[in-house]
Structure formats: C-alpha cells, structure tokens
Homo-oligomer: 207 residues x 2
C-alpha cells in the first residue's frame, strides 16, 4: 500500500507528520514524501525541514494521496504542474485526502466541485471559491475524498482512515501506540470555543 505525501515550500509539518505517525503502523504501508525536487523542504518559520525522497515526476500512482497544507499552499493554487499531478494521483487512488489548507489544493485541482469538504477555519472563503461546500466538521468523507480541518485534525482523520484501510481494532491499536488520549489544557481549539481575547490576539498576530 503506497501512501504518498507531497511537500512544498512553507508547508505545515504537523499536517503531514500527524497522519504519517498513524498510517505508518498499518500493514503493508509504504510512505513516500515527494516534492518538486528531492531534498529538504522548509516550513514557516524555516526552522524545520522534512526530506522529500522522490520528485512528483518519479511517482505515477498511489493508493493513498495525503496533501498537507500550510502558508505555502495559497501560492500554489495556479501551479499547474502540481495540480495536474494531484489530478493524476487522484485518478488512480483508493483514497485522496487532505489536511488543513491542503484541501485548497484539491479544490484548485477541481476535485471538490459540488462536494462537502473542510479546511482550516481561516480558509473557508478560498475553499468555497472553488465550488466546494464548507462543512464545519473535523473530518469529512465524500466518496473516496477525505478532507480534514486545521493542522492537528490530521491525526483524527488518519485514525478514521486507518479503520477503513485495515479495521477498527487495528486503528485502536495505533491510537494506543501513539498514546492519543488528548487532554488539551485549554478549550480554545475552534472559533466557536476560543475566548474572544485569543481570537483577537491571533488576528493581530501572535508574534
């Protein structure tokens, strides 16, 4: 089972690594990070780099496509080389998935027209501009397309996907392996729950 994760300049690492840590446990899983060129791919603020071990052009099919998001995603919404590659991968995939603003890339590739989908709460307007219908859920299944909400939601998405790729007991065993028993110290993880002061601070810029 080949799982392919495309990286790009200014991606968000947790979008990719959260699901990676779940899916890597699955029987037969072979995960490949790819990018326009092989080598280190940097995030924002550029202090982290993940290695792409193959180029987009090296890969012509996969069982699971997992597209992360990040600040760099918005710069790629007209990047036809990447969007065409996403369409080709989707053509042969069993599952086509995204985390955070990765769904903007699926949408820009034309895969989400008329479908329910989710994304980071701050990117709803862009998602809908491509004809998708934003659904404020953490994970949205639409046929073989699965979109997840912002950043950390990729872990929840991958566990739900693991149960379908293998079975529920396997997914539960993975959850136990990564001790995913979340206990956030605050309850501010969505716009509906976050205090106004936190929303104001984020809007102004934390740093």
């Amino acid at each position: 089972m080949r799982i392919v994760i495309p990286l790009f300049d200014r991606f968000t690492a947790l979008d990719a690594v959260g699901p990676y840590e779940v899916l890597k446990f699955l029987p037969g899983a072979e995960i490949l990070f790819v990018a326009a060129e092989t080598g280190a791919v940097r995030d924002v603020p550029r202090s982290l780099a993940l290695t792409a071990d193959a180029t987009l052009d090296d890969v012509d099919s996969c069982d699971v496509l997992l597209v992360p998001g990040g600040p760099g995603a918005r710069a790629l919404l007209e990047e036809e080389h990447l969007l065409g590659w996403i369409r080709r991968m989707h053509g042969g995939s069993t599952w086509t998935t995204s985390v955070c603003t990765g769904s903007l890339l699926l949408a820009a590739a034309g895969l989400l027209k008329g479908l329910a989908a989710t994304t980071h709460w701050g990117a709803v307007d862009v998602l809908e501009s491509f004809g998708a219908s934003y659904t404020p859920e953490r994970v949205v299944f639409q046929g073989k397309i699965v979109t997840a909400a912002g950043v950390s939601s990729g872990i929840d998405m991958a566990l739900a996907l693991a149960a379908r790729l293998a079975d529920r007991t396997t997914a539960e065993a993975v959850q136990l392996a990564i001790e995913y028993d979340p206990q956030p110290p605050f309850d501010a993880g969505s716009p509906a729950k976050a205090p106004q002061a936190a929303k104001d601070l984020l809007a102004r810029g934390i740093r």
Copy 2:
C-alpha cells in the same frame, strides 16, 4: 528564546513536531533541531527524515530543551556524549522537557532521580530503573522539568508550557491556530481505555 530539539537515529517524528508546531508561534521563539551530525535524521520505518541544522557541539545553551523519544532512545541510554550534553543544556535551561521515551534520556542523564515523571506507557519499567517515580499523567511538571507521556502528548505539554512561557491567552491563540479541538474517532488512547483486542494486537505487532 532559544528552543533546542535534539534528534537521533530512529526518533519518533510526532514527538518533536507536535510541540514544535505549538512553540514556533511564541513571541521570540527560535527553534533549532540538532543532532550528532548535521543533515537528515531518519525515523522508523526510515521513510521520514527531519533535518538537523546544527550539531550538539555547536550549541552550548538554550532556554528550552525538548527531548523527543522513539525506538532509538533506548539505544542511547549509555551514550555519554549525548547524556553529558543533556546535562549541560539542563544546567542553563529555563525548562527541560521530554516527550514519550525522551524521558528515558533525561533519566539516564541523572535528571529525574527521586522525581515524579511520565513516559510512554510501555517504558515505565525503564524509567523507574533510573530512580524516577512514574506518574500516569499526560504531562508532569516537577520544578523546571516537564515530562509528557507517549507521542501525541507533546501537543498537550507544549500548550501548557506556552502558557508559562507567554500567557494563557497566547496559548489559547496557538491552540486555535492549529485547530486543536481533538475528536478521536475511537477511545483507545491509553491502556486503561483500549479494548483488550487492540492491546493484544499491539503486543503481537500490528505490522
């Protein structure tokens, strides 16, 4: 504020990347991944590599030390070069932290003797063999030392730490930024909660 994350062969990526995605938002945060040598450092099953941008010897102090775990941690419990470096970093740190079996490295460096601490649920005996007192909590503060439980717990730890490094509103703004509103599809994230079938499968090996 310099935050240093040491990597080693067969580390667990989410141990490092979960807290990284939280701490990178903090005002003044400069995060540096280090390792014995610069360059790509591989996890298990070797499909992921994070880049170390400096060597251990390049760094002589930090404000926050964050030690991830992983299968490779157990091979380093007598690696005096790394353990001595951890002791030196701890000597000047404001916070010394670990995720998962990263606490075994703090313990092997002699930092946890007589202290309450946590680790991955599967590594309790090793932790206690170094004189620490295992506490089955997700995040354990003991003075300036903070240990977190398995893999995904680093996100919870980093949010708690963010409130101390900055303030509660900042931590909540970060939680909102990464949309950390966890909704695991199953409730199997700890040995006390996981169904017996999942525990049996994990004990046999999922793959």
